[in-house]
Symmetry: C2
């Protein structure tokens, strides 16, 4: 079957220009580029002088953050022109270890979205044993055999690299031995420490928040992944990377993207639209979202329109809105003018599926678990949250335990708890948090970075228990409760992280959760903020199942006296 795409303005990655040419597709590949006799082809598609471009590649994404299965994610992303993503299954690996990675690989097999994987390098990221699994180098090694495994995922444990930690060095050595890519995660790292980190073999960074930082990392040999996700947005600050020569060593990623945000703003196409509105050169933008990521991850047949490359192609109406009117995957038109062709759902081994659907290993909790034993006014370490920031402040406040057992909605002070959901240990810790804006009720979630224990936040023990127990009973998810009533609930039965529902229903459930939070008095994205309160690597003060942690990742007492 030969398909000829005629009257195209083809994005040529090698000259970073648009060429008026035709493309001949055969056997899922590009057979030729130039001028052809239409008689040669079985099918001729007139592209009406629109732009033909390789499919977009998201250079770094945690699929779990979308709460979608790879199948649903493909349904969501293909109409936006994305044909390949580089996923780090860090979250599900923290819950289910090797099974989590294997599940993601199986459940993305054969999709018309190429789902590549980087192997989670930091499970867990800290010495605090709070996760569902520990992945050593020997646990990751077998996965390199898989053709869609492209390397070692973001090495966020920077001290382990700088201190030549043997486990971390073994993981890096394995990646090198497999000629694989090694992703970094090094916010603000500079000078000799950055040199040492790069010398160890780390090749990319998606944590740059300023142009000068990105420039200096590029000059030292790194590839910069401009992150524009739901939570962290660096596009505006890094817009100069779209200029030559920086555009040659930069690409685009979403890192974390929520399903409702995806629905609303699109995927890579939406980021390009924003970038061009900010003044970016649109051809550089195409290069950075197609050819460049393919180079970083050594996808030798992706990212360009030339003989021998995979026929993963998209048609853009223009280079302003980046509206996608057609998508070809492996040479076949899979999407056109709003209609996505059906494709098969990947099959997952049933025993594996069973494991992933039963990730809640804990008993129901009693409301009393969410009660402090303290009386009177005591000084306590309170987590100080600021809207829009993952950094917290260690607030030492006078807490009146005789009034609402320490909670004070007027003072924006509510309880927060983290409960072990992996080992049925009954271990949990209770603290206070300031700044969430929650006036009533409780929220609970099994999405709680990076260990993904059960986290709950609320004004009263009864609602906190109901929200938590709903998730324990239903296998995980996000739940909002007020006055003993469930206001909204998004089931995430796969590892407590991923929905078994469609993209559309999952996005709707998210919107309902947002409404519920509004009803409970807060205008914030509370589930996202709450999910980061258990991540000790981001300072100053966080909460784990062992209790509060400080900057040095030490467990500290709740009472500050």
């Amino acid at each position: 079957m030969k398909t000829l795409l005629t009257n195209a303005k083809i994005f040529n990655a090698f000259s970073c220009s648009l060429l008026d040419q035709s493309v001949l597709l055969e056997d899922g590949m590009i057979a030729g580029v130039g001028e052809f006799d239409p008689q040669l082809a079985d099918l001729v598609v007139d592209l009406e002088h629109k732009i033909l471009c390789p499919g977009f590649i998201d250079a770094h994404i945690h699929i779990e953050s979308t709460t979608l299965t790879p199948y649903e994610l493909a349904r969501a992303q293909i109409p936006f022109g994305t044909t390949a993503i580089v996923a780090d299954p860090h979250e599900i690996a923290n819950v289910c270890g090797q099974d989590g990675i294997e599940f993601m690989i199986q459940s993305s097999q054969g999709l018309p979205l190429d789902v590549y994987f980087m192997l989670p390098s930091c499970v867990p990221a800290t010495p605090i044993k709070d996760s569902g699994a520990v992945l050593r180098a020997s646990d990751l090694r077998p996965f390199y055999k898989h053709e869609r495994v492209l390397g070692l995922a973001e090495v966020m444990n920077v001290p382990a690299v700088l201190n030549n930690d043997p486990e971390m060095m073994a993981k890096i050595a394995d990646a090198k031995a497999n000629n694989a890519a090694i992703d970094g995660h090094s916010p603000m790292l500079s000078g000799p420490d950055l040199d040492a980190y790069i010398k160890a073999g780390i090749q990319t960074d998606h944590e740059c928040a300023a142009f000068e930082e990105a420039k200096s990392k590029i000059e030292k040999g790194m590839f910069i992944q401009i992150r524009q996700g739901t939570a962290a947005k660096n596009l505006n600050d890094l817009i100069r990377l779209f200029e030559y020569p920086w555009c040659l060593r930069s690409c685009i990623c979403t890192d974390d993207k929520h399903p409702d945000d995806l629905k609303k703003t699109g995927h890579i196409n939406g980021i390009l639209k924003e970038a061009v509105a900010l003044g970016a050169d649109p051809l550089h933008a195409l290069l950075m979202s197609t050819w460049n990521p393919a180079q970083i991850y050594k996808m030798t047949k992706k990212g360009a329109i030339a003989p021998g490359y995979d026929a993963d192609l998209i048609v853009l109406d223009d280079l302003k809105d980046f509206h996608v009117s057609k998508v070809f995957k492996n040479g076949k038109e899979i999407y056109s003018s709003g209609v996505l062709q059906d494709f098969e759902k990947p099959k997952v081994d049933s025993a594996l599926q069973e494991k992933l659907f039963h990730s809640m290993n804990m008993s129901f909790v009693e409301p009393d678990s969410f009660r402090f034993d303290h009386q009177g006014v005591r000084k306590a370490h309170v987590i100080g949250h600021s809207t829009g920031s993952l950094l917290t402040e260690d607030l030492i406040l006078d807490v009146d335990f005789d009034f609402m057992n320490g909670v004070n909605p007027e003072k924006d002070l509510v309880k927060i708890a983290v409960m072990d959901r992996h080992h049925n240990s009954g271990r949990m810790s209770l603290g206070l948090i300031h700044g969430m804006g929650l006036k009533e009720g409780a929220l609970a979630s099994t999405v709680a970075h990076d260990s993904h224990n059960l986290i709950a936040m609320g004004t009263n023990p009864a609602d906190m228990a109901l929200a938590s127990n709903t998730l324990i009973e239903r296998g995980g998810g996000l739940c909002a409760v007020k006055d003993g009533q469930i206001l909204a609930f998004l089931p995430l039965p796969i590892g407590g992280l991923i929905s078994a529902e469609t993209y559309e229903k999952t996005a709707e459930a998210n919107e309902e959760l947002t409404k519920a939070i509004h009803e409970m008095g807060s205008g914030q994205e509370l589930f996202m903020s709450m999910a980061f309160m258990s991540l000790p690597v981001i300072p100053s003060i966080k909460i784990t199942t062992y209790g509060l942690t400080n900057d040095q990742l030490e467990i500290i007492d709740f009472l500050a006296e």
Copy 2:
């Protein structure tokens, strides 16, 4: 041992700019780039604001054309700033097969010049069985294990690729399976044939002679290697490739470079000097001779000055003359201001060495072998040579065999003979050639592309026999004889292709040969021209041990009637 190079203008490949920085070297690698406390270093070298650049890389060279051993080539090239070369041992493989490749690998082990190899893909390049060896895919396969083997060398048998010849396809498949590079050789190839050639996996071309050809190949995904050697010179015609964006997909190579030319004009540094004089951007020129070739051949630690890269660095006085004042290899200063440090000669397995030194498998020849049996005036096919061209013309001339047995120096007509030197078959053929300008005596050579049989050219049988027998006795080389006297002789005892002498002596012997040729009446580079007269793939008419060949690679009769 920590070495700090201070006060440098560092060529930064990632931004294609010069940065005022210092570089810290440790364990042969670059440990850091930026500002450092000199106290940290064991040795501080002040570069006096000169340009520090990665060592130059020759992207494609046949070492045999230099007639030097890799050791002598290293001595010759390092002072010119070359620290890595990508060699195709095509010539020696045509003579000695696997042994030839193995010899080149062993004899370049541990040199301060990194000698990488591409595996000869076309031994022989034609179905005419004229070479000393045949290399099938299964013969090449074991070599991929060697760390300095980077891929499959120039696939010059274009029809084999286009016709999906199983042996050729197996060689290409092996290269792909080893994640190795595949070099091309496709002069003038365009349109669907070029598409098919590229689709098969061919990645480079060093045969472009015009900018438009190079541009079109780049747009189709190829890397272009601008060849500027002793014989073929394409720099002038391809100078626009130094412009953005072409400079991102182009690099520099010499292909064939003679030792006297090397001595006179330098190596890559000399080509950069020429390029800049022709208007090339000097920073692009640096990129194309360092970073770009490292990318093509996946030398992950070469071609840039950044943490983790090999400390193969050169100091340039300026970006006009490209004079090299210092060379650091693996972090050690190996060359400075005209003085090259001694380094060890690689050891070659003695049995292997023995084989290579005895490549002449033939008996002495009698003067009568160079005599035609014809009488009177007959029409004959004469090879029509034009100075500076490898293309020949099929001249059908009236030859008077009663006058000097067909030779006529006045009419620029001399004899040419090719004798099997590989199989002791006694097979040889005799013809006539026009246009060499040889008035007296004879030349003989064991350098005769691609089969490297014994080739001789001359005005009389006695001198042709003496020149030939001198080479047979001495194990090969280049020889000039007049009136029964040897005027000049360059022994090439290694495979009949490579000198066992020093770079300096070999260059001198070449100069003496040139003088001898002048004495014999010709102003041309006759040995080089003669060496191509046995290469049937370049039309129109050539001579093999089987006789004359035409465009279709068929053997034709000498007499044209």
